[in-house]
């Protein structure tokens, strides 16, 4: 496949009991409009479920969305589980991220971490760049 035609495959996932689905659904729409292939897990996912789907669907990136305080633990757990299973799928996270959590999340390889109100192109650019660099190894 010609590189330029290659579509980024995304899994948008909502871990835990957080019910706020609008952000995740909006993200799906934004990424689809940007030409990505998007799979949405729906709500109420455990880390296991998310990781299994990510591997089965061979996605380039997992976008985690949660407005609950459990996000820090879930995001790190998902990133670590993917690594443990030998996957190089990128993990990005969104929602309302506590300042204190940011270094820990970055250390675990979770990036993005944009809050509400972030312009769409910032999100798209970040995902594209990270996937191209880390997963497709383009320069």
């Amino acid at each position: 496949m010609d590189k330029s035609d290659r579509k980024i495959r995304v899994l948008v996932a909502k871990p835990g009991t957080d019910s706020h689905y609008r952000g995740a659904e909006l993200l799906c729409q934004i990424l689809r409009n940007a030409g990505m292939e998007v799979i949405y897990t729906g709500r109420y996912q455990t880390s296991d479920m998310i990781v299994n789907t990510a591997i089965a669907e061979d996605v380039d990136v997992v976008c985690l969305s949660s407005l609950a305080w459990s996000q820090e633990k879930y995001y790190i757990e998902v990133a670590n589980m993917l690594k443990d299973k030998g996957s190089d799928t990128c993990v990005v996270g969104g929602g309302i991220i506590s300042k204190k959590a940011i270094p820990k999340l970055k250390e675990a390889g979770v990036t993005g971490l944009y809050g509400p109100g972030t312009p769409n192109d910032v999100i798209i650019k970040h995902i594209t760049e990270r996937v191209k660099k880390e997963r497709w190894h383009e320069n």
Binding site: T17, Y21, L26, K99, K100, G117
Partner: protein, 562 residues
């Protein structure tokens, strides 16, 4: 003061001339506005028929004579902390500031119908009080004379949560020997809202409607000073519905609920005098004012014309307003104080019966004590300093306000008629029409936000570079790892140390009764008394209707119930 780089010194960007121009000339609901309104826009307006004075049918100008001069709106604050005890302490601070209600706001775990030991809940627990058993709720009520408080179950946007909360309160009242007939308060109990917005995991609709009726009946019989249901437009607003849609849907809903009560043999007088809706105030100041005024008049007319209410007092609609979290921005959070302030003022000018204030830092953390203080002060400043309560309905007579109120009522009536023609609100809720309506409203709002048609100052208008964003103070949680471990241990102990036979018996009876037409509320109360937990109770009811035990379909029914 910030110093700017020298090289930037000579030019400042001027390309914002366009931004200075206001081009929007429509309201939030999309009504095209004229430059101004005058008496000719109100030619059909008959004061005695369409307005009336304060405290007079059709209550356009307020429910009571003199309004806030005599009865101030109820100030409420939804607030939860990590434990029942900590939530209680916060409540006490709020009481000191004149708020009267005990506000129960359930967290995500309750809202999804799970016990804290559910695998999906493992990281989410202990951020709110987690009333999985009545004992948890009891802990936050220690030392209170139940008959003296006012209890509000409005937090969760989940009907199953309302049903279980009221049952827990009734359980505690029974065990404490309190007089249930004197317990005041309110719950939402609005299954149609859940069908429309699907915000929470809730009962399937058929169960929801049955328990709606059961709860109503139970409250009317056992707790007659408690308000059995309300129609809630707050979630509809958050989901993207405009004022017309909100009014059309919730007034249809409220009508349906009263009809259900009638069908169960409850006279209109017994529920009609507590008719309540809850709405969001939104950023469109005047539309919020008019939405509230229109709702009052619409309900008065419905109560009189459809339900034949004999006493005009039975035509009064109480309206609780919450300033919405969705308009709170993370950028420059202190700006939100002005936003909340405008929304709250609109609520008061509309004549709301209760106002619940958002906190300016909700968009990025659990509300801090500082933001709670500001919200409390906000209430007092409106009440004490601005003088807007000096006279009833101060906007009454304004050409624009009366025109917009009329317009909203007219359009909402059309939607109600449309719903009626399709077989009524229950039908369209069940058929998915309602959900589709809400979804398309949501898509429209998202589009407007994306296109920047909807301006949010500091977000898509004059946004600051991140490094210039002011520092924000985050709420400090207690040690969450420990709190979560402790809670899990507590649940384990609770489940291990109860009289399991008694629990089993109560739950199995509930499941059996759920298959009959009997009112389930007393059986749910019995289950709590027998130390059953929330998800066990929900599981039994679900199973009776042929659904899986677990709301998220992850775990099996516990062994002792086999």
């Amino acid at each position: 003061m910030t110093t700017k780089g020298e090289k930037k010194k000579k030019e400042i960007s001027l390309d914002r001339t366009k931004k200075d121009q206001i081009t929007k000339k429509t309201t939030e609901s999309g009504f095209e506005l004229k430059p101004s309104y005058g008496p000719r826009d109100l030619q059909d307006f008959v004061y005695e028929r369409d307005s009336g004075n304060d405290g007079e049918y059709p209550y356009l100008r307020g429910l009571y004579p003199g309004m806030y001069r005599n009865i101030l709106w109820v100030s409420a604050q939804a607030l939860t902390r990590e434990t029942p005890e900590k939530s209680r302490m916060e409540q006490e601070v709020i009481w000191e500031h004149g708020a009267a209600t005990f506000y129960f706001s359930s967290g995500d775990v309750n809202r999804t119908g799970l016990d804290p030991d559910h695998p999906l809940a493992k990281y989410d627990i202990a951020y709110s009080p987690e009333n999985y058993s009545y004992k948890r709720m009891e802990r936050s009520l220690q030392g209170i004379k139940l008959e003296e408080g006012i209890y509000t179950f409005h937090g969760a946007s989940s009907q199953q949560d309302d049903v279980l909360c009221v049952a827990q309160l009734a359980t505690i009242a029974d065990l404490w020997g309190a007089d249930k007939t004197k317990i005041r308060g309110s719950c939402i109990n609005d299954p149609i809202d859940n069908m429309a917005t699907a915000f929470s995991i809730d009962f399937p609709f058929e169960i929801g409607m049955r328990l709606h009726g059961d709860l109503t009946e139970y409250i009317v019989r056992e707790m007659p000073t408690f308000s059995p249901f309300a129609a809630i437009a707050y979630d509809l607003w958050e989901a993207g519905c405009n004022s017309v849609q909100q009014l059309g849907i919730i007034l249809s809903t409220l009508t349906a609920y009263h009809q259900i009560a009638l069908d169960r043999g409850i006279p209109f007088e017994q529920v009609g005098r507590r008719a309540t809706i809850s709405m969001a105030s939104s950023m469109d100041f005047f539309e919020t004012v008019c939405r509230i005024r229109a709702a009052r008049r619409m309900w008065a007319r419905i109560a009189k014309e459809r339900f034949g209410a004999s006493d005009p007092k039975l035509c009064r609609l109480r309206i609780a307003i919450r300033t919405p979290g969705q308009t709170i921005t993370r950028q420059q959070p202190l700006n939100n104080i002005a936003r909340i302030g405008f929304q709250a003022l609109a609520a008061v000018l509309g004549g709301a019966s209760a106002v619940d204030y958002a906190r300016h830092d909700e968009a990025f953390c659990i509300p801090s004590e500082e933001s709670s203080m500001v919200s409390l002060a906000l209430n007092h400043i409106i009440a004490q300093e601005t003088g807007v309560g000096l006279t009833a309905d101060p906007l009454g007579g304004s050409y624009y306000v009366e025109w917009l109120t009329n317009k909203l009522e007219e359009e909402a009536n059309k939607l109600m008629k449309e719903i009626e023609d399709m077989g009524g609100i229950l039908k369209v809720a069940e058929s998915g029409w309602l959900r589709r309506l809400v979804n398309s409203a949501r898509d429209e709002r998202m589009l407007a936000l994306e296109k920047g048609e909807q301006i949010q100052v500091g977000v898509n208008y004059f946004r600051l570079p991140d490094e210039k964003e002011p520092e924000i103070v985050e709420y400090e949680f207690d040690d969450m790892d420990k709190l979560q471990a402790d809670l899990l241990e507590e649940v384990r102990q609770y489940k291990a140390n109860r009289d399991i036979q008694k629990t089993r018996q109560a739950l199995l009876t509930l499941r059996e009764k759920a298959k009959t037409k009997e009112n389930l509320m007393p059986y749910i109360v019995n289950c709590f008394k027998a130390d059953a937990t929330r998800s066990e109770i929900l599981g039994m009811i679900r199973e009776a209707y042929g659904y899986t035990y677990d709301t998220v379909d992850m775990i099996e029914r516990p062994e002792f119930l086999n």
